[in-house]
Structure formats: structure tokens, C-alpha cells
Symmetry: C2
Subunit: 224 residues, 2 copies
Amino acid sequence: MQLSTIASPVQTPTPWPAAGGSTGGVRLLAAYDSLFREGDETTAFYEVLTGAVRAYKIFPDGRRQIVAFAFAGDIVGFCQGDTYRFDCDALTTTRVRVIHKKSLLHAMRERPELAEKLLDVARGEVETLQDLSLLLCRKTAIERIASFLLTMARKSANPLAERLALPMCRADIADYLGLTIETVSRNMTRLRTLRIIDLPDRGSFQVRSMERLRQLAECDGNTH
Amino acid sequence: MQLSTIASPVQTPTPWPAAGGSTGGVRLLAAYDSLFREGDETTAFYEVLTGAVRAYKIFPDGRRQIVAFAFAGDIVGFCQGDTYRFDCDALTTTRVRVIHKKSLLHAMRERPELAEKLLDVARGEVETLQDLSLLLCRKTAIERIASFLLTMARKSANPLAERLALPMCRADIADYLGLTIETVSRNMTRLRTLRIIDLPDRGSFQVRSMERLRQLAECDGNTH
DNA sequence: CGGAGAGTTGAGAATTCTCAAAAACTGTGG
DNA sequence: CCACAGTTTTTGAGAATTCTCAACTCTCCG
């Protein structure tokens, strides 16, 4: 498999305002390496440089929910209190920039305009979570999967590329969308049968009809 | 019905850092009066002083999701971009303090420590939404309702009071939890039959077994 | 070639939804 | 104070969707 031919999410060129150079160390993670765990002290948060991570919570009875996927350019672990409320680990080989909370707070006092940027980051996180809530409240399985794939496609440089990366496994998608692996699989197949998407191989997909995918995802209800 | 005997959510005594007196006007809303609509320009956000509001989104096909309820002490409309992404209106007679975005941004430049408070507000919003996502991902209807009632109880001054306020109708609860009115009703009855809660009258409830409610809500899985 | 892990497909069970009707509550007017 | 209409909530029965459990396929790797 030629990984290089798979379109990756847009690489934002270091959007993070470096706070005097002292903030950024870079950490390299292999697939499934942990970035932080629920209960850990929140001394830092992270900007994903390359690769992807997942943030999730595991319930006492073993059920799991993935609360967010983060790709190159995204921030993880920002809106947390004194301790993290979730586990976070890498989906693939991943590089993250470490941003220490302390030095950032310090920088914020010096440069008040930085606070506005941070509020923007928080706002982005809120929007993502609102969309997730909408998606989970939305009833049918196929609509959730359509929404998810649409979001993934829109994040990439070329949404109509023949091979868009889908770096997470079916179990991850299921736990993100509040479905089971089997339901995810069945509805992926259904979307392919409807010729809305294609599944060239494990770990990638292609949008064949952006319009119909959008209709399903946004509950337009014209086609069914 | 003696409304005064119903325990209301805790009234936080003006937690908001008034930015030089120029921020706060107060708006009075009757039940179902609109606070803002999706698409409106976000010139201000609001602190609920008394009463309660709901924030929701309506899909093209008519489905609705309530993204948040806000009670006395809560902030609404804070983490929004240039335009609101949701409709917001009052559940009952409600007073809100208007906080103008412009004056707040101005105040933030003068007093950098204010920015940290604002980030805390954003963090609170993120936590609430994460909890909502967890709740929606959680499978069974009875667990969602248990979580919801537990949250409502915990917000009130005396969670074990005989009559806790439930100011929203079943349709609102259903659209918040991603269920139908009928399923909400059935499972409320079931919780009452299990003697976990009591429903003294429309618009209020009582927790009879906080422990069993918590077990259901937090997916402990000991009792079923 | 064989084994492990991931994904797909199938059949029956369980939950929730939909549609329908009954019951309870609210407010109005006599 | 009671009757009535209108609304909300509850309850019931059948339909639809998703889940559970199981078997099978495919790919990757040694």
C-alpha cells in the first residue's frame, strides 16, 4: 500500500502562536502510545503536527466513547480542568507539539491578544462537540456515518480525492458514533451499494457523490 | 400549586466579573420568548439570573435537538463565532444579564486576569457538552433519563428535596436526550415503579434513592 | 501455508419508534 | 364551583431499527 498516495488532512503550517520559544517541545508517538490518561494532571496540552489521536472515556462497565479525533493542526487537551477527564492516545505514528500550561498563562499576561486566540481554540472545541451531540441525537445509523465521512472528507485537502485517509478502525468509528462495529460495517457497505462512497481498501475511502452524502448528513431528506 | 416549595437550581450570587459597569443590562423574558436565533450576529452573551433557557437546533427535516439547558448562574451564547449556531429561548419567566462582547473584549485587554475567567467559562461549556455526548452515546433510555435527573438534582440546593423543579416539558427532555416523548414517559414511570424517583406532579420530581440513580446514571451496572 | 486481527455478513433478540387512544392537567367561562 | 376545550402526559400494540452472537472472509506477516 502506497501511503503517500492517500490524501491526508490539511497540514496547517504551525498556526500556534509560539509563546517565546519556551513552550514547544515535540513528542513522537507510535500507534496506540498514550498521550495522557484520565486523572493525569493537566500540565500541558498538545498540537497535533502529523498523524492523528483519539480522546475517549471508558465507563465502569467497559463501554467506551470516543469524544474526539484530532488531526494535523488540531489542539487536544486544551479545555480541561486540573486533571484530564479522558484518555488520549495515537492512532498512527504521530508528532505533537507540547504546550505547557504555565508558560502559556505567563505569556497570556504579557500579550493579552493571545487570550483571544485561546478563546478561539475553545470555541472550536465547543463547535466540534456540539456537532458531535447533534450527530448522536440524529437518529439513523446511516446518517451518522454519512456525517462522519463528510467531516473527514471536508478536513482533507482534496475532498474528492480517490483515496481519503480513514486512519481509525471500525471499532473506533463505532464508539465515536454510538453504534456497534457491525452496524458501522453494514451501513458503510450500504453507502457503497448506493454508489455514494467507495471503499478501495482498508483505511481509506472515496466520496463518489458529495451531494448525496451531504443530503444524508444534513438531514435534507430529499433522497432516501 | 405552591411554586415556592419547589427547590430551584442554586442561585450563584452574581459570579460574573462586571467589566466596569458598562456590560450589564438586564432583560426580562416571558416563557418561550426568544433570546436569540440561529444566524443572528453575536453581539452579546447572557448570564441567566433567574428562570431557565434552552438552546436548540432545528434540522431541515424538522427534527430538533436541544443542546443545553441553562439555569440561574449559567452562561449562554458564549462560545459562538460571529453568528449564533442555535436558537435560544426561555422555558419560564426568566431574567438574564446582557454582557456585550465588545465591552468584554475591551475589558480583557485592560485586565488580563479576566481572560482566565473567560477560559474557565469556555471550559465549563466544553465539559457540559462532553457529558452530553457521553450521555447520548450511552445506550439505554433509562440510563439517559437517570443521568439527566441526577444532573438536575445535583444542580439544586437540596438534591433530596421533596419537589425538585423540572421546568421543561417531556418534549424538551426527549429532544435533549435523543429519545421520543413516549420513551421518556415510559422510563420515568419505570424509575418511579422501581422506587428510585417520585413524580409528585407535572413539573417536579423527587429522588428517593440517590445511590441507585447514580448507579444507573454512571453505568455501574450493579443493579438492573 | 497458517495464524491473528480486522472487517463483513447473516439470523434472531431486544430496544426504541410510530401511531393511536386514554387519562390527567390547565385555564376559561358560565 | 363545575363543565369544557385544549394541551400534555401516559399507556398500549405493532413496526422498524439496532444489537447480539456467530460464522465467514480478507489481509497482513511470519
